[in-house]
């Protein structure tokens, strides 16, 4: 009984941390995972009193993983709130700003949050129903991942071309007639993609050190610069007028319910795809699912992309047991904490059972928390010291970048921020910045 109780306690702590990381754009769950990893020795010794109750070190490490997983899951739920009310998303939620923010401008910010929660929770249930059969497709005996690995170069090339070619923004700087604005939109999408790619090639040759000896990753300042700070800076620069919010539960008719189911299904499948393929993030998964879905309704778009994010966060922890690869910072941290072996038998590995409990519990808890906090924001968001919050967040990110990666990391972060501002100011999709990972991976395979 005690182990189960401890799982629930760490789940709850993880969810509460996920609320903080979700509400503070730029503070990513990967940062928390990294900090936790650095402090794992201290955490184990401070929890050593549990040894007297029959809890061993391995189980304490499982509890730390449960905490990280719950944070990651909750983060994907709560992230919609700053996206909607502050217009300040992190990278995963970047594409949700337009539909959610436009509902906010209609006084329906709460509806946007509720629909997102439905999409995310739908993805949890959808993925839970699929994870067992998918294990046999991705791994032994069908080995879909091995096949995919052989054609990964072409998959990445196809995704990159699709992402650039489907850019819908029009740039009028070089002519306003005919197809010129659309062509310029695609051209600038390609420019942002290649600038990010070149940035990626450079940073992988840069060595960073933490001034206090923490584990350093060059990706942290790069991604925080590309996706975290630019929207925060833009939020400081824009002051939209927002009407009073209507706080009514969204009512879906039969057609909307069926449509929502398809949105959850396509979003979840895209999220699973993202979790399998390296270098592809939720934003790209969202573009793929929106193309597959062919749905332009903003409510369905919110449901779809919330499903992509949550399904991806869910499945990276399953994928870990099938192909032994960590596809997110949180998954890598989990793999560092506990020994993960390939799931070969018909039965679930013991640690996966704990992780599934964490995912289901944190998903359920996060759903209600998102609705609650969304309602609270809708009622009181005029009273939130918005600019102070954003300035503090920018300061916090700079501080974390310095602590983890030193002065060189700060330089990478600054250049990343400049690159991340390009798509915002030129009005193209921010997901083109994922060239930072995709281009180096493509070059590696060539």
């Amino acid at each position: 009984m005690l182990p189960f109780l401890l799982i629930l306690i760490f789940c709850t702590l993880g969810v509460l941390t996920g609320v903080i990381t979700g509400l503070l754009p730029g503070l990513h769950v990967n940062n928390i995972a990294l900090i936790l990893l650095s402090l794992s020795g201290t955490i184990i010794s401070s929890l050593s009193f549990l040894f007297d109750f029959g809890i061993n070190i391995e189980f304490i490490l499982i509890l730390m993983c449960v905490y990280i997983i719950s944070t990651a899951i909750c983060h994907t739920f709560i992230g919609i709130i700053p996206s909607t009310f502050l217009g300040a998303p992190d990278e995963d939620k970047a594409l949700s700003v337009l539909p959610a923010h436009s509902l906010l401008l209609e006084g329906k910010g709460y509806e946007a949050v509720s629909l997102s929660a439905v999409g995310s929770y739908g993805a949890i249930l959808f993925c839970f129903a699929l994870f067992y059969p998918l294990r046999f497709i991705i791994g032994d005996p069908l080995f879909f991942y091995d096949t995919l690995k052989e054609i990964l170069l072409f998959v990445l090339l196809a995704v990159s071309i699709l992402m650039i070619a489907t850019e819908k923004s029009k740039i009028n700087d070089f002519g306003r007639t005919g197809i010129i604005p659309s062509i310029m939109g695609i051209l600038f999408a390609a420019i942002v993609f290649f600038i990010s790619g070149f940035f990626g090639i450079i940073i992988f040759n840069v060595t960073v050190y933490s001034p206090i000896g923490l584990n350093s990753s060059i990706l942290f300042p790069a991604l925080a610069g590309l996706f975290g700070t630019p929207t925060l800076l833009m939020s400081l620069m824009t002051k939209p007028k927002i009407p009073d919010q209507i706080i009514d539960e969204p009512v879906l008719n039969k057609k909307a319910k069926i449509s929502s189911f398809y949105s959850v299904a396509t979003g979840s499948l895209s999220g699973i795809f993202v979790a399998i393929i390296p270098g592809i993030t939720s934003s790209i998964g969202t573009i793929l699912s929106l193309i597959a879905r062919g749905e332009s309704d903003k409510r369905q778009t919110i449901i779809t992309l919330s499903a992509v994010n949550t399904a991806c966060a869910f499945f990276v922890f399953i994928i870990m047991f099938i192909i032994l690869k960590g596809r997110s910072g949180a998954a890598l941290a989990v793999m560092d904490l506990v020994s993960v072996s390939v799931w070969k038998s018909l039965f679930l590995p013991e640690s996966l059972v704990y992780f599934l409990i964490a995912i289901l519990f944190s998903g359920f808890f996060s759903f209600f928390l998102t609705i609650r906090i969304g309602r609270l924001f809708a009622r009181n968001f005029r009273r939130i010291p918005y600019f102070l919050l954003i300035k503090l967040t920018i300061f916090l990110i700079c501080f974390l970048v310095f602590v983890f990666t030193g002065v060189v990391g700060l330089v990478v972060f600054f250049v990343g921020t400049l690159v991340g501002l390009l798509p915002i100011l030129w009005g193209v999709r921010r997901s083109h910045c994922m060239g930072v990972l995709i281009v180096p991976i493509i070059l590696y395979f060539i």
Partner: protein, 216 residues
């Protein structure tokens, strides 16, 4: 108009910043060091260079490569499988750390291991083939081993510890003189013998050979 100017300036500043970052990256790159200096770089990123003398896969598909340069050796722990072969000259970039009392280089992924020169005229030890036999299947390869169990149409070669056996099927027309325990280099076609469910190497084409190693 003001916004337009800002985005144009941003484009120029970004490109200049990336160029500056490129030069900074050249300055902050991990240094190329000699293997014997490794203990001076604990916890630091370095690049080491050497010839692959050992190459193993763990059960988690991590690769442990040993390289040698100037009579000093170091183990490289790579988190994923690489294309590195015995005899290749490689450069590896990673973090210096101590594992079970020995210095090793921890490498994030295959992208941090560059093959500078493929091993030419290298004869693989049997253990190298045994690590990943499918990689060499249906190819002409050169392999080194000790002769064992000679019969009319085939003999076996074994490794030093006699743990790995590989049948060598040879053409009776070839004038071959071998004796048990002799160390030989065999150049032939490596394939899978479906009938006997085992790998084999065949000496049946022009250019295939068995060379005794003199003085062994």
């Amino acid at each position: 108009m003001k916004k337009m100017k800002l985005k144009h300036y941003l484009m120029i500043i970004t490109i200049i910043s990336i160029i500056l970052l490129y030069f900074l990256s050249k300055l902050s790159q991990a240094p190329l060091i000699n293997i014997y200096e490794i203990q001076n770089y604990n916890g630091k990123q370095v690049i080491v260079e050497g010839i692959v003398t050992d190459n193993k896969l763990t059960k988690y598909d991590n690769q442990i490569i040993t390289i040698e340069n100037n009579n000093t050796k170091i183990s490289i722990f790579c988190q994923e499988k690489t294309e590195v072969d015995f005899g290749d000259k490689i450069q590896a970039k990673g973090e210096v750390q101590k594992y079970k009392g020995d210095w090793e280089l921890f490498v994030d992924g295959p992208s941090n291991i560059k093959i500078i020169e493929k091993g030419k005229n290298i004869s693989f030890p049997l253990w190298q083939i045994a690590q990943n036999p499918s990689k060499y299947i249906n190819q002409n390869i050169s392999v080194t081993g000790f002769v064992e169990s000679i019969s009319n149409s085939y003999f076996c070669i074994v490794d030093f510890e006699k743990k790995i056996f590989l049948p060598v099927i040879y053409d009776l027309g070839k004038n071959i003189t071998i004796y048990p325990g002799q160390k030989v280099i065999i150049f032939g076609r490596f394939s899978f013998d479906e009938k006997n469910f085992r790998y084999k190497i065949e000496i049946n084409k022009e250019g295939h050979y068995i060379n005794p190693l003199e003085g062994e």
